[in-house]
Subunit: 236 residues, 4 copies
C-alpha cells in the first residue's frame, strides 16, 4: 500500500510547482506541466491534462507507476507524460521534470538552434550550450510521439556526451523547452533561467551577429562557483 | 418576444469576454470588441462602440438581428459590427468573433504577411499558416468598409481553400487580427494564441532569416492531438 | 483674483494625468510631465520639477501665467515648462501637453526618424506620419534650450504644413515625444497611442525592411471614421 | 565598539535597496546585490549570498570591515563582495554599489560593446558612453576572480580617463552591470537608468544601423541641467 502522507506531499509539491509557472510568466493557458518522481515509492506524480491553473487543486495531480500507468481512478495525466517517463528512465539522477512553451526558448527551438553560452548568467546554471534536439522523423511522430520525444532528448545527451546534471535542460526542435532538477522547485528554476538566457542570447546576437561563446575558463569559473564541492556561492 | 434570460446570459458572456481582452494584454483603450451569435434566437450581441472597459456593464451590450440591425433602444454597437455580421453569414459553424489590435498580430498585418507555422504552439491551435488578407481596394474602403472587411476575410478562406474551423483566425492587411470560435471564451483564447504565435514566429525569424515551416506530419500530429475524434489532449 | 475652485480643478486634472503616465508604463522615475492651459483664466498648471510620483499631491501642481512665470509661492515648475509655453502659443487649439521618455517613441527619436503610418491603429489617431524634428543647433541648445525645443516643434509643423489637431504629437530628435490634446486625459491618450504605434511600426519594419506607408484612402477612412463631422465611431 | 543604531540604519538601507531591485524588474531569483559603505564607521554592509528576496530580513545583511572581512557571526556575504570592496577603494567618492543581471545591460555586456549615448535620457544620467570592460584573462579569473573584476572596472575608468561620478556605472564584459552612487537608492536608480538606456540604444540601432552618438553640446546640456552647480532640474 502506498504511503498516503508521502503521496500527498508529492502532489502538493507538483501542484505548487505548476502554479509557479504562470506566476513566473513561463506558461499561458494550460501550456506547461511539472512532474516529480519518487523512485523509492515507485511513483510519478504529474499535472492532469488540459486543466486550467485557476481550477486545479493539489488532489487533482495524477499518480502513475514508473512506466506512466495511472494508479487508481482520477483525471487523465498530461499528454506529455511519456516524455517525462523516458527522461526519468534515462537520467537516473533527476527528481523532477518541467515542460513549458515559454517564448524565448520556443523561439530558439523553432529556429532549431542550440542556445550558446554568451555570458555568466548562462554559465551559472548551464555548463555549456543548451542543446536543441534534431527534428523527430515522420515515423517517430506517427508511432509513439511523446515517448520518441523523450528518446530524442536522451540521444542528444548521449551522442554529444553531455551530462544532464550539468546541463539541466534542452529545447526540442520546433517545439519547446524541457528542464529538470533534483526537486520540482529546482526544475522550475531551471526553466526560468533557460528562458532568461535564451532572451539575453537573442538580444546579444542582434548587437553582434558574429558573437562567440565565452571562453571555457569563464564557463568553468562560473559553473563551479555555484556547483560541486568547491562551490562558494550561497550559504553553506 | 425574445427570451430575456437567454439574452441576459448572452450579454454576460460578451461582457466577460470583452473584459478578458485587456486583462490578457490584448487590448488597450477601447481597441477591441467581442460578439456572440445565437442563431436560434436570431440575435447577435456585441460590445457598444468606444465605451471604456472600466465603465462598461453587462447590460450595455448591444443586441442586433442577424443583419446587424439594432433591436430596441440602447447604445450604438461597435463600428466593426458589419465585419462580424459577414463572418457569421459566411462561417456557419462559428458562435463568436473577436477583434483586437494586439501588437504582434498587428505587426504581421502591417507587414502584409501570413504568419507561418514554425512550431507546435502554432500547430496546436491553427492547422496551417494564419492568412493575411489582401489589401482592400479604394472602392471597397469608400463604399461599405466594415462589410467589405468581412468579405475580404471570407474570400481569403474560400480562395485558398481554408477551413475556418481549423484556422480560427485571420489578420487583415494593414489592420489587425480577427478570431472566432464556438463560444466567446474560445474566440478570446484564439486571439491570445494568435498573438503568442505571432510573437514567437517573429523572434524565430530573427534567429534564422530563411526559416521553413514545420513539416505537415508534425502539423497533423499536434493539431489532431487536440482536435477531432482521435484527440487525446485534455479530459474526455 | 483667481477663481480658486477652477484652479483647484485644473490642479486635480494635471495631477491625475501625471499619475496616469507611470500607470500606463509610459514614465519611469520622474521622466514625464503634463500641463494644462486655461486661456480664459490666463494660467498654465504643470507638474513640479523632479518630484517623485508617489509623493506628489494635487496641491503641489505649479501655477504660472501664460508666459510661464510662476504665480505665488510654491514648488519649481517642470524644467520643460518653456517648451509647453511655446506649444500653447503656437498651437491655439490645444488645451494640454504631455512629455515622456517612453521607450519606443524615444527609440525613433534617437534614430531621428519620422514614425510612418503603417496601419489603422496609427490612422485612427494620427492623420499621417508622426514627425521627428530636426536636431537643435549648438546655439539653440546653449541659449534657451527648452524654449527652442518648442520652437523647433512649431517650425516642424509649419514648414511641413501639418495640422497639430490632426497630428497631436511629435518626437524631438535625440530626445523624445511630446503630445497634446483638448484635455489632459486626451493628451495622455495620445502619448499612449504614439508609444503603441511606434512599437508596432518598429516590429513591422523588422518583418519587411522595405515597407510602404498605407495608402491615403485607408488613412482617410480610419482618421475620419473617428474624427470630424462624419465620424461614426463611439457614442454620439 | 560599533554604533549599533547607525549599523541598523545601514542594514535597513541595504535591505530596502535590495528589495527595490526585483520590484523594478532588474533582478530575478537571487541575481543581484547591493552594498553600502560607511567610511567613518569603517564598515561595508552587503546582501548575504544566495538568499531569496522573499525570506530576507534587514538583520540578515552582512557587515564587513573595509577589506571585506566579515565582522561577527552571521550569514556569508554576497560572493561579489570583493568586487564591491575594490570599487570602494578605487572610487573614493561613492557610497553604494549595485550589481544585477538585468536583461538589456547584460545583452550589451555579452556583445562586449560600450553603450553609446544616443539621446537625452542617457545624457541626463551618464556623461558619455557607458563603458564595457575588456574581458578578464584566464589568469585573472583563476586567481582572485571577484577582486580582479573590480580591478578591471577601475582600470577601465583610469585608462580611459573617465570620472566615476559622471559615469556611475559600467558593464563587465560577458557578465553584466555594476552601478554606484552616493546612497543605495541612487545606485539603484542608476541601475534602472542604465537598463533603460541600454534598451533604448538597442532599439535605436535596429532602426538605423549606422547611428552616431549625440553631439557633445547636447550631452553637456542635459548632463549639466541635472548635475553640478548650475543644475536647474528638480527642487533646490
Amino acid at each position: 500500500m502506498l504511503d498516503e502522507a508521502r503521496l500527498m506531499a508529492l502532489k502538493q509539491e507538483v501542484f505548487e510547482a505548476n502554479l509557479a509557472l504562470p506566476k513566473a510568466g513561463l506558461v499561458k493557458l494550460t501550456w506547461g506541466n511539472v512532474s516529480v518522481i519518487d523512485r523509492e515509492l515507485g511513483v510519478i506524480v504529474i499535472k492532469p491534462s488540459g486543466v486550467a491553473y485557476a481550477e486545479m487543486r493539489a488532489e487533482d495531480m495524477v499518480v502513475t507507476d514508473l512506466d506512466g500507468i495511472p494508479i487508481g481512478s482520477g483525471l487523465a495525466p498530461s499528454s506529455d507524460l511519456a516524455t517525462h517517463v523516458v527522461l526519468y528512465q534515462e537520467f537516473a539522477e533527476i527528481g523532477a521534470v518541467v515542460h513549458t512553451h515559454s517564448k524565448w526558448a520556443v523561439a530558439w527551438a523553432q529556429a532549431k538552434r542550440d542556445i550558446p553560452a554568451y555570458g555568466t548568467t548562462h554559465a551559472d546554471a548551464f555548463y555549456g550550450r543548451v542543446p536543441c534536439t534534431r527534428e523527430l522523423t515522420n515515423e517517430e511522430i506517427c508511432t509513439d510521439y511523446e515517448r520518441e520525444t523523450g528518446n530524442v532528448i536522451a540521444k542528444t545527451f548521449t551522442e554529444r556526451g553531455l551530462d544532464p546534471s550539468a546541463i539541466p535542460g534542452v529545447i526540442v526542435s520546433s517545439h519547446g523547452p524541457f528542464t529538470w532538477g533534483k526537486t520540482a522547485a529546482k526544475a522550475v528554476e531551471h526553466s526560468l533561467i533557460l528562458e532568461t538566457v535564451a532572451d539575453m542570447a537573442f538580444q546579444s546576437e542582434q548587437l553582434d551577429h558574429n558573437l562567440s561563446m565565452i571562453p571555457d575558463y569563464l564557463l568553468d569559473k562560473h559553473y563551479y562557483r555555484k556547483h560541486g564541492e568547491n562551490a562558494y556561492y550561497g550559504q553553506r
